[in-house]
Amino acid sequence: MLKIENLKTYYGNIQALKGINIEISEGEIVTLIGANGAGKTTTLMSISGVVPPRSGKISFNGKDITGIAPDAIVPLGIIQVPEGRRIFPDLTITENLDMGAFLRKDDAGIKRDMDYVFNLFPILAERRSQRGGTLSGGEQQMLAISRALMAKPKLLLLDEPSLGLAPILVQLIFDIIKKINKEQKTTVFLVEQNANMALKTAHKGYVMETGRITMADTCANLLKNDEVRKAYLGI
């Protein structure tokens, strides 16, 4: 579904991605784990078109999407839930969800999807006219995921959804990710520092270190791998 070939991205003169290759098949949950500053967020921002790569190729369902603008990526169904959730603080919950559906014109479908996410996270329905900035971290994460779902994602990019959340909420968020993958048949690309949770949730995993992919395998194998266990699982 998504294929990244030899991708190189720079911030000024600093090379953040040093030629990475990633492949995601339809229906999978694929995870990318690694330490802070490894280039995980840059990878997602390159896919979304916010940080255009200098060289390499990103293709989606066979179509070359390298370097095209973010507002041209979104209608393809590649939707990102960015790090830190980035809720519009002065828009209400409903308005935040409306923004998620910004490029859609099917009002009936939008209404249906809004009911779906309110069903998924009843707390959001209760607070629908509250401003996004007044929500707790967990609620904001729920809203961020809901906003992405409003765009009808085919490929959902999640950047550190567990960051700063209490363990019970982390569990809830990961359960929801699995549910979305199963019920909506949405392919998920999950970037995480919480390697333990990520590897238990995903089917396939990539390990990233300072701009390079150092390992790629099924999650079952990665969980057994000594290096991964030592460096990322703390066992």
């Binding site: 979304s48 078109g49 916010v50 603008a69 973010p70 507002d71 979104v74 209608p75 939707i79 990102q80 960015p82 980035r86 519009f88 603080p89 002065d90 828009l91 308005e95 409306d98 923004m99 998620g100 910004f102 490029l103 906003r147 765009a151």
Partner: protein
């Protein structure tokens, strides 16, 4: 101190405030979205007034009803000014989007000087009479010594513009996209908002309201020259800062507060100190509330 004089000053203050508000909207919207003080914004207001003057002059020979001439000139002036605003953004600010903020600010000052001098060359530095096209409204006859027709039209038009503007920002898709872009540009892109389009619309709307202000005040004062935009622009900028730059209700509130301060100050103390009241009041407010009346305190990340 008599009450008629007070009411007269009060209405005078509201009139001034209305004009400031129509200009300040553009300042605060542009600042909210691209964090730029668009110093050339006052020039758009001046260009609106001149376009209306030229169009109404050309139409004077057609023998049309003055009100029709006024409305046609106003519409042409608004379209023209909006085109100026959008073009200005394209050539002077867009190429500097990723440059340090100071570069764009200097570009704005340059744009302001360019437009002023361009009108100076085309129209000379003399004050030009602005035609009186609006017939006196009959129902204002009994109170014409405290409020005249143009004043009434300024207040009424401003009220309508503000209501339409609020509805636009609050309920339409482009309005929500503008707010979203002002709050988080990267996230706005991630939901598929074309921020270039949003910025263009912002300049379009801001320039249109400024042009409305320019046309209205010219019919009220009766004469214009190339310099009116600079002075009005600075005052509207003060109003936007007073209210809290970046905040739309703040800009409107700041404009009326400023208009009333000037009006009462000149009326009761001395008309020589008009600008002293404006800037003095600004300084006092900024001492106690540096982010302006309705501005949000800037958060510093440690």
């Amino acid at each position: 101190m008599n009450s008629t004089y007070f009411i007269e000053l009060f209405l005078g203050g509201l009139t001034r405030g209305s004009i400031y508000a129509l200009i300040a909207l553009g300042y605060t919207m542009v600042y909210g979205i691209i964090q730029l003080i668009n110093f050339a914004h006052g020039e758009i207001y001046m260009i609106g007034a001149f376009t209306a003057l030229i169009v109404s002059g050309a139409l004077a020979f057609t023998g049309l009803d003055p009100v029709i001439i006024f409305l046609i000139s106003a519409v042409v002036a608004i379209v023209f000014s909006a085109a100026y605003g959008v073009t200005m953004e394209k050539i002077a600010y867009k190429p500097l989007r990723k440059a340090p903020r100071l570069s764009a600010l200097i570009s704005a000052i340059g744009m302001s000087m360019f437009l002023q001098n361009y009108v100076l060359l085309a129209q000379t530095s003399d004050f030009q009479p602005f035609p009186d096209l609006i017939p006196d409204l009959k129902f204002l006859k009994p109170i014409e010594n405290i409020m005249n027709t143009t004043q009434f039209i300024i207040l009424a038009t401003t009220a309508v513009v503000m209501v339409l503007f609020t509805l636009l920002i609050k309920y339409t898709k482009i309005g929500k996209a503008m707010r979203a872009t002002a709050q988080d540009k990267i996230m706005a892109q991630l939901v598929g908002i074309n921020i270039n389009k949003v910025i263009m619309v912002t300049f379009l709307i801001g320039s249109s309201t400024a042009a409305i202000g320019g046309i209205l005040i010219s019919s009220h004062v009766g004469q214009i020259n190339f310099y009116i935009g600079f002075i009005a622009g600075i005052k509207a900028f003060v109003a936007a800062v007073l209210g809290g730059i970046g905040s739309v209700p703040g800009a409107v509130l700041g404009s009326f507060v400023l208009g009333l301060t000037e009006s009462f100050g000149t009326g009761y103390i001395s008309s020589d100190y008009e600008d002293v009241f404006a800037f003095g009041f600004l300084i006092i407010i900024l001492i106690f509330k540096p982010s302006g009346i309705l501005g949000k305190p800037t958060k510093k990340k440690v």
